[in-house]
Structure formats: C-alpha cells, structure tokens
C-alpha cells in the first residue's frame, strides 16, 4: 500500500551539523507510527521535511505520492499539530474550528463528536487566549481531526494533558487509524502512551534512524525479563547469577525496596517466570514477587540509545530506578 507520507534518504543540514542524515520513513494507511528520539534528534525537522515545510538538502519527501512541496494539493487531507496549538487567541474555540474549515474551503462539520470526549463542549464560546495550555492542545487535536484527514501528523499532542485525557486523545487518534484507515505519525516523549497505540516505530538519534519497523517485531527482539522480590536477596542474586538461562542480572532499588531484574536467554517455549521460580525454589529463596516484564518502547529506546552512544549513556526516559551490578 502506498505510504501517505514518505521520506526517502532525506537529509537536512543546519549550520551546527546534520539535522537529518539520509532518513527513510514511511507512514502507511492505517498505521500509527511513533516517532521517538531524544531532544534534538531531528523529529520535528523530519516532520517539517516530510510535509514540505522545509526543503531537504538531498533525498525526497512525498505526501500521498506527490512531492511534499505540493502538499497543498491535498488540502484538508492532512491534520497537523506542530509548533504548539497555534490557535487564534482572539477567536473562540468554535470560531477557531470554523476558521480551519474555511482555510480548507470546507463547510464546518459537526464538531460535537470530537468536543465531547475531549471535554471541550463547555468551552466552545471561550476565547482561545483564555484557555489553559492543556485545553488549547485539546482544541488543536480536535482541529486536526475535524476534517477527517487521511494523514495525521501530531508533534507532542499529549505532552500537556493529564493521563486520563491523554488516553482519550490517543483513543480518538487510534479510532481515526482503525475506522478510516488514516495514516498517523505521532512524535512524542510520552513513550508509555505511545506503547498503547503505536503500530510502528521510528527511533531517531542525532538525525539518523536507529531503529525502524513494525512495533511487534521490534519488541519481539527484546529478551524476556522478570522482576523479582526475594529474601534473602543476596542468595537469590547468587542463584540466578549462576543460572545458564540468565543473560543479565541487575539489582534495582525501587522506592527503597531492592529488586532483581533478570534478563533471560530464549529457550524454546519455556515460561521464563516458571524457570526463575524453579531456580530460586531450589536455592531455598522465598519469592514474594515474580513479575514478567512486558517489553516496551521505553526499553527499546533505552537499549538503542545506549548502544548508539557506546554503552555509556543512560537515557533519561523516566526509569526512576538506579541499576547497579550485573551478572
């Protein structure tokens, strides 16, 4: 299927160096592509080049198969949040939505189905200048979804929303992808939220693609791991460190409680938690918690960036844990 948005070996240089370095990116219809990376990785530049707002120094950018510079041919087919909410402060919420429809030469569709779930129905007559930042971002999301676009490009759409509204907002985005087969590109630092909705992932680092592909496949590449609370912890640590199936063992301190995190080698259809439990039982260790870890984008992110930085960098992706020791 033709990608709604494509970057093909796109490069862009600023005076400080390469913002994008031969980046390939495709956003197919029906897919939700998470675009992640540390600050300054080139995510926003990639979006700008992809939408024809910036001309690439080399390579190509296409929107619905056309050169990105001609994106206006597809007026109304692209919903966008970029550079903040970009609302007209002097206009009401309703007028901001009407203005958006007018700019695209369209009649204003009923915004009710978007305003209700985003808790904006009571704010329709409030001037945008009087909205909080979270409210403004919700209006921007409603505006992006208003004309039922075939391509949604959202730069940090939920950064200013509380968890419940962030969930609702991304549910609306997912509904657009599932029901209307819209192509969605979401750039975000909210990796846990992306985990819920993304079907594909592109990880940028210093202008280069570190990781790209179907999210299930990427997450499948992560070795299974379990978290263990046990007493005595040293005995558990010693027992697991000797075990042939344990590839890596970390001692974590979470809220003052010591936990072990064991990364396991894949062995056929073995249940990793059962294998660890058996080993600890044999060593006479009392296990109070044994929780298999679900592989996450955050873990992918941390590993890829650590690898790219020569194993030295610890990525600040809201881990909250300090790791010490290794098997």
């Amino acid at each position: 299927m033709e990608a709604a948005l494509e970057l093909d070996q796109a490069s862009k240089r600023w005076r400080g160096g390469a913002a994008l370095d031969r980046v390939d990116l495709a956003v197919p219809r029906g897919a939700i592509v998470g675009l992640v990376g540390p600050s300054g990785a080139g995510k926003t530049t990639a979006i700008r080049v992809g939408l024809g707002l910036l001309a690439p120094d080399s390579g190509e950018a296409r929107v619905f198969g056309d050169p990105a510079a001609r994106v206006a041919r597809h007026s109304g087919r692209v919903g966008l949040i970029l550079d903040g909410p970009a609302l007209e402060g002097g206009l009401t919420v309703a007028d901001n939505l009407r203005l958006h429809a007018l700019r695209h030469g369209r009649a204003l569709p009923d915004p009710g189905p978007l305003l209700e779930p985003l808790e904006l129905a009571a704010l329709t007559h409030r001037r945008a200048a009087r909205l909080s930042q979270g409210e403004a971002y919700r209006v921007a999301l409603a505006r992006a979804l208003l004309l039922e676009p075939d391509l949604l490009v959202l730069d940090e759409p939920v950064a200013h929303l509380d968890p419940a509204l962030a969930r609702t907002a991304l549910d609306l985005v997912r509904a657009a992808a599932v029901k209307r087969q819209a192509a969605v590109l979401v750039s975000s630092h909210q990796l846990a939220e992306l985990d819920r909705v993304a079907t594909h992932l592109v990880l940028l680092h210093r202008g280069r693609v570190l990781l790209a592909g179907d999210l299930k496949t990427l997450l499948g590449g992560i070795a299974p791991a379990v978290r263990i609370a046990a007493r005595p912890i040293e005995a558990a640590r010693a027992a697991l460190a000797r075990h042939a199936n344990v590839a890596r063992l970390d001692l974590l301190r979470v809220d003052g409680v010591e936990l072990l995190r064991a990364e396991l080698r894949r062995r056929g259809g073995d249940d990793p938690a059962a294998m660890v439990n058996a080993a600890l039982h044999q060593a006479g260790v009392a296990v109070s918690l044994l929780a298999p870890e679900r592989p996450t984008i955050e873990e992918l992110f941390r590993r890829a960036i650590t690898r790219a930085s020569g194993g030295e960098a610890e990525v600040s992706a809201d881990h909250g844990n300090a790791a010490e020791g290794a098997a």
């Binding site: 700008r48 939408l51 910036l54 206006a72 007209e88 206009l91 007018l102």
Partner: protein
C-alpha cells in the same frame, strides 16, 4: 481561484476578533468626532464673535454658513484617515508574521499553495480596509449632515461650486486616495512576509513609513513616485487631505493637472509590486 478560501478565512479572522472589529470602528468614530468637534468649535467661535460684536460694536456679522462638503472632507481625510492608514499598515504587517509567531504558518501552508495564501491574505486585508473606509465615509457623512446641508457653495450670491460638482470632486478624491490606503496594506504584507515576528514586522512597517511620510516634502520629485506621498498620513499632498480645501471651493485651490491620476496610479503599481515581492519571498522562505 485558489486564493478565495484563504481570503474568506482571513476576512473571517479579521471580523470575528475584538481587535479586528475595533479596527473597523475606530476610523469611523474618529472621523465623526472630528466633524462634530470641528462643528462645535466653529459654533463656539461664531458665538464668541457674535458676543464680542454685541458688546463692542452694538451688532455682529452673521456667521458664515458652510455646506456639509467641507466637514465631510475633514472627516474623510483627517484623524480617521490617519488611523485607517496605520490600521492598514499594521493589519498587513501582522497578516503573515503573526501566523509565524503563533505557529499557524505550517497549517496555512498545508491548506493552500503559499502564493495563494499571500494573495488571499492581501485581498482580504484590502477588503477590510475598504470596509473600514466605507464606515469612515458613512460616519463622516452622517456627522456632517447633522448641522449642514449638502448644497451649493454660494458666496455673495454667486455659486462657487454646485453640489453636483462637489460630489464629483469628493468621489474623485476618494477614488484617487483609496489606492494609497490599499498600498499601505500591501506594503505591510511585504514586510510581514520578510519578518520573523509580529514585533519586527510592526517596527519594520511603521518606522520607515512614518519617516518617509514626515520627510516626503524633502524628497523633491522622488516623492511623486512614492505611495507614501498619497497616503493621508502627515502628507499635505494626499488627495484625501487636499479634499478639505477643494470641497470648500476656495478660489485658489484646485486639482493640478494629472494629480488625481498620479495619486491613483503610483500606489496601484507599487501595491502590485509589493504583493509580487511578498509572493516571491514566501515561496523561498521555509514555513
């Protein structure tokens, strides 16, 4: 007609915001206030003269009766027109720069080709300025009609100018003066396309314009080729400013040969050039 959607959206934006509505009303209020204020001052002056006549000479000369054309010209070419000039300049200057400030330029670029956005915004700004001018004219007309008649100018039983002739003079001056106002909006639009922010656009539009307006008399023949000369902003050569004398049918005032034509043509050419330049700049700049 790809610019039509941009134009409609810009007109909607200008007329739905408080600032936009304020800009439409202010010139009309100033125009009417100037007419009524001038009239009041004239009546006070006449009353004082009459009172002095009673006390000093035992009788007073009758106050001169003015037709409504003079006050109308005062309203159309005075403070209201000056305010409208500034409004045209700033509305043009904010058109693209504020989108850049707000982050809305990328949204605009996705909606229509950049050239169509520039043309749409410029046409909408010009329509807005014309609407404000119609308001200024109407308010001045009503204010002038309060204490005067739109009748012939008669002096010593001699008709210096008939009402019909004065209507023609007034409408000619308005037609010739309008392009300069619209050119101000186009100049603001060019500055807006070049500027990175609203503040920079405002300064870059207002400062050179005001300096040129203030010192245009020192520019000699070059002034004839500048739209600023014909804008009713500190320029005695602007048709709207000159109308005040012409409409009173003073014996020594009349339009010079080609004056109105020049006032209409020079700003029209420059305005189109400004729009073309803004179009070119927007094509080349990143959104």
């Amino acid at each position: 007609m790809k610019f039509v959607a941009s134009m409609r959206a810009e007109l909607f934006r200008l007329t739905r915001s408080r600032a936009g509505r304020f800009g439409l009303v202010v010139p009309a209020l100033l125009g009417a206030a100037q007419v009524l204020g001038g009239d009041l001052m004239a009546r006070l002056h006449a009353a004082r003269s009459a009172a002095q006549g009673f006390s000093g000479q035992g009788g007073g000369a009758a106050a001169a009766i003015e037709t409504a054309f003079g006050p109308l010209a005062d309203g159309v070419g005075g403070l209201g027109a000056m305010a409208l000039t500034m409004i045209a300049l700033l509305t043009g200057a904010f058109a693209i720069a504020r989108e850049r400030d707000l982050g809305g330029l990328s949204l605009l670029t996705l909606s229509r080709p950049r050239g169509a956005v520039v043309v749409g915004k410029t046409v909408a700004t010009c329509a807005y300025v014309m609407t404000a001018f119609v308001g200024l004219f109407a308010a001045s007309y009503l204010a002038a009609a309060v204490g005067h008649d739109f009748s012939d100018v008669v002096e010593d039983n001699y008709v210096m100018a008939s009402a019909g002739e004065l209507w023609i003079e007034t409408l000619s001056a308005v037609s010739a003066g309008m392009p300069a106002l619209l050119c101000c909006a186009c100049f603001g639009g060019l500055v807006s396309a070049l500027s990175a922010s609203v503040g920079a656009a405002a300064v870059a539009a207002v400062v050179p314009f005001t300096l040129l307006a203030l010192f245009q008399s020192t520019l000699g023949r070059v002034a004839d080729k500048l739209f600023v000369t014909y804008a009713p902003f500190f320029s005695p050569r602007a048709p709207l400013a000159r109308l005040s004398e012409v409409s009173r049918a003073f014996s020594n005032t009349h339009w010079e040969s080609g004056e109105l034509l020049r006032a209409a043509v020079v700003p029209t050419i420059e305005g189109v050039a400004f729009v073309l330049l803004a179009w070119l700049v927007t094509q080349r700049r990143d959104a």
